[in-house]
């Protein structure tokens, strides 16, 4: 089995998403607040996984633009949950390539006196292991 | 479904012709699996099931008996399932008294549209029978093969 196929299976497994349920209506993309920032759009996540086009997906900046706001999950008429899929792809990157998106060294420069702990905790959870 | 042990329970399911038998058919045409241990007997209505049939099943070595009928209010014969419900309530409590645990007997309402429910119910029921193991009460040991 080739590497991408394995990774695609891993993503479906981690996310629990069944890409076959998608009817390609685009409501996820139409709901996404980060749509403009993404190079691969939410409705495409599903077909990237289904077509085992994983290299492109894991190198996509979309991984780091998803807000986990669950608008796509809430509104998806087919119960596909694209948000879970993108998170699984992000997990895959973090687990395999390490924690390159956010490094602790960057933090001091990003801090300001009002910044709540919650923000740091959440960002670390999402960007690192 | 992988079985946990070698135990192959004998399960008799009485299904009314109008709802539950059709529900079982729908489970079939939707390819919703349940263990082959379940064998269905078609009756016109759940109220056709004489308590005697259930006692007979246990006597002959059944490990569980389930009766399926139309939902309350949906009986093809208006009120048959209400009779069945009352009769089975009595019978099951008597069976429990005799040592045939309540888990081995069950009444479930399954409509013609509930293929999913039919298969789920059967899966659950078989699982329950597995957890209870072989039934030893009421069985006429003269009938046993080995």
């Amino acid at each position: 089995m080739n590497r991408e196929k394995k990774q695609a299976e891993l993503i479906t497994e981690i996310s629990g998403v069944n890409p076959l349920k998608c009817m390609k209506c685009g409501k996820c993309s139409a709901s996404c607040p980060s749509f403009e920032e993404m190079d691969i759009k939410p409705h495409q996540f599903v077909s990237y996984v289904a077509n085992e086009n994983i290299e492109a997906l894991v190198n996509s900046k979309s991984l780091w633009k998803c807000l986990s706001c669950f608008a796509c999950v809430e509104r998806c008429p087919r119960d596909v949950k694209p948000g879970k899929l993108i998170d699984a792809a992000r997990q895959l990157v973090i687990r395999q390539r390490g924690q390159e998106y956010l490094s602790p060294d960057e933090i001091p420069a990003l801090l300001d006196p009002e910044l709540p702990q919650q923000l740091l905790v959440s960002a670390f959870r999402r960007y690192r292991r | 479904m992988p079985m946990k042990d070698e135990f192959k329970p004998k399960i008799v399911a009485f299904c009314c012709n109008w709802c539950s038998y059709a529900g079982a058919d729908l489970a079939g045409s939707s390819r919703l699996t349940y263990p082959a241990d379940v064998k269905i007997i078609r009756v016109p209505c759940s109220c056709r099931v004489n308590p005697m049939f259930i006692l007979r099943a246990f006597e002959k070595g059944a490990d569980g008996v389930i009766l399926c009928g139309c939902h309350p209010g949906d009986c093809h014969y208006s009120t048959g399932n209400y009779y069945a419900r009352r009769r089975m309530t009595l019978l099951f409590s008597m069976l429990d008294y005799l040592g045939v645990e309540n888990g081995r007997t069950r009444v479930e309402w399954v409509s013609a549209a509930e293929g999913v429910k039919f298969s789920q119910t059967m899966n659950e029921f078989v699982e329950k029978i597995h957890s209870l193991g072989k039934n030893v009460r009421l069985e006429d040991l003269r009938c046993r093969k080995e």
Binding site: E13, S68, A71, L115, P116, Q118, V121 | -
Partner: protein, 265 residues
């Protein structure tokens, strides 16, 4: 009435206001928030991966402690509420997660989602009742036009959070009415503020917060309320300052006349 209470990291530090006003108001409304011992940070975001177990354990600990005390678990921060509620749902309904989490935890009795998780707002609505609150209000905030900012975490996914209609919620509007002010309904009240993305993508978060502020101001709000420290931070830092943003508990304390007492703490 006593509830187990999970404050969360930010309410102990940057968002003390959210916490003290809530406790002081609770006292007046006749219920008590009993902080659970040795709570640990929930992690801020719910781990979406089906194979994530360790990251869910802190929530399970809190939930189990409430279970042992036989109390409902109340949260205040939207993020904590979201994480704990969803972990609880997993413990209730996902056998694999329940089993593996319990294997880690080695509790005297396995935890299977028995605890009921409530947001403070739900306590106000479902346990105290907004009518009862109305009667206890001494300083009704008359004439104030307030926009409720829900954000995402309280509402979505609607099926699991079961908090309110995720696309047209009413709980905070009812709350605003109960404290004597006038709610302003605006369409961006359930749009994301940017969340944790504001750490590295300030501009993206800013553009989202601006939209929210503009929409609320456009519909005539002169103040926004929220239940989430991160939303508050993002809206203040990135929301072009058109509207002030405060915690809903602050207004509750003000309306109930206990703001000063809380302020002294």
């Amino acid at each position: 009435m006593k509830y187990s209470y999970y404050p969360g990291c930010t309410l102990r530090t940057k968002a003390k206001a959210l916490d003290v006003y809530a406790r002081e108001s609770a006292r007046l409304l006749g219920f008590e928030l009993e902080e659970i011992e040795n709570w640990q940070c929930c992690g801020g975001v719910y781990p979406l991966g089906n194979d994530e177990i360790a990251t869910k354990l802190s929530s399970v600990r809190a939930l189990n402690e409430a279970k042992e005390k036989g109390q409902e678990l109340v949260t205040l921060c939207s993020a904590c509420h979201h994480v704990i509620k969803r972990v609880n749902d997993d413990m209730r309904n996902v056998e694999d997660i329940r089993q593996r989490a319990n294997n880690y935890m080695q509790l005297s009795e396995p935890y299977a989602g028995e605890t009921n998780v409530l947001h403070y707002l739900e306590v106000l609505r479902d346990r105290v009742g907004f009518e009862a609150i109305k009667e206890k209000v001494v300083n009704p905030l008359k004439g104030k036009k307030i926009g409720a900012y829900y954000g995402c975490l309280l509402l979505r996914p609607g099926r699991i959070m079961a908090f309110d209609n995720p696309e047209n919620p009413t709980i905070m509007e009812e709350f605003i009415r109960a404290i004597g002010a006038e709610p302003v309904i605006y369409p961006y009240r359930n749009e994301c503020c940017g969340g944790y993305i504001s750490l590295k993508e300030k501009e993206l978060a800013c553009s989202m917060c601006e939209k929210i502020m503009d929409s609320a101001a456009g519909f005539g709000a002169d103040l926004l309320i929220t239940a989430c420290p991160l939303c508050l931070y993002n809206l203040n830092a990135g929301g072009n300052g058109r509207l002030p943003v405060v915690y809903f508990t602050e207004l509750l304390a003000e309306a109930l006349g206990v703001k000063k007492e809380a302020g002294n703490q």
